[in-house]
């Protein structure tokens, strides 16, 4: 089965510090896409960053970067210089080859302490 797992239900970090959210997935395919979505209290699911499995280089978007370890099937999100506005639920998701759907992890609730 193709699954996505987030083992950290909650994380907290001091403002301006760095935090890493973990995500692992399971698939036998070699071609797929990975995503991190942010869901603030306003509810909207916002795309944070995406990674193509065929690219070895880790994706980066400003303060957000990923550590993609294909052999380990790991896709963690690093948030640098955390800001109060980063507080949200973060979902890891995957789009596997041949499927249109996104498969989501359970989510990690991130709290930023001022």
């Amino acid at each position: 089965a193709q699954t996505v797992t987030q083992s950290q239900p909650e994380m907290s970090v001091q403002e301006a510090e760095t935090v890493t959210l973990s995500c692992t997935y399971d698939t036998s395919e070699s071609d797929y896409y990975l995503f991190w979505y942010k869901q603030p209290p306003s509810r909207q699911m916002i795309l944070v960053i995406r990674q193509e499995a065929y690219k070895q280089q880790n994706a980066t978007e400003n303060r957000f970067s990923v550590n993609f370890q294909k052999a380990a099937k790991s896709f963690s999100l690093k948030i640098s210089d955390s800001q109060l506005g980063d507080a949200a639920m973060y979902f890891c998701a995957a789009k596997f080859q041949g499927a249109q759907k996104l498969v989501f992890g359970q989510g990690t609730r991130l709290t930023i302490n001022p």
Binding site: Y33, R43, Q44, M45, R50, F91, Q100, K101, L102, Q106
Partner: protein
């Protein structure tokens, strides 16, 4: 920036009634999706829609559910004979292509409460 819009933001319905959730996808997108998120649980895929027909659906999407694109702009999810367990947040999403290169963009969701 173009957005996916969903109405209503909150729907309260008596058990056994029919409910229609509405979505306006991003205008030049071709693929449309519905997901749901039961309180405290993960986001689950329901159905995808392309070229006026269902292209993929999950085991959750049984005969109780249907989707429609009635007028070229709206994309609706109908739930017949609602049950208590249908209470959830329902998200609509759209994408330009069926590719991870064009990610799915989500709306704000409709919170459905079945009484």
């Amino acid at each position: 920036e173009p957005e996916v819009t969903q109405t209503p933001s909150h729907q309260v319905t008596q058990m056994g009634q029919e409910v229609i959730l509405r979505c306006v996808p991003i205008s030049n997108h071709l693929y449309f999706y519905w997901y749901r998120q039961i309180l405290g649980q993960k986001v689950e895929f329901l159905v995808s829609f392309y070229n006026n027909e269902i292209s993929e659906k999950s085991e959750i999407f049984d005969d109780q559910f249907s989707v429609e694109r009635p007028d070229g702009s709206n994309f609706t999810l109908k739930i017949r004979s609602t049950k208590l367990e249908d209470s959830a947040m329902y998200f609509c999403a759209s994408s330009g292509r069926d590719s991870g290169n064009q990610p799915q963009h989500f709306g704000d969701g409709t919170r459905l409460s079945i009484l």
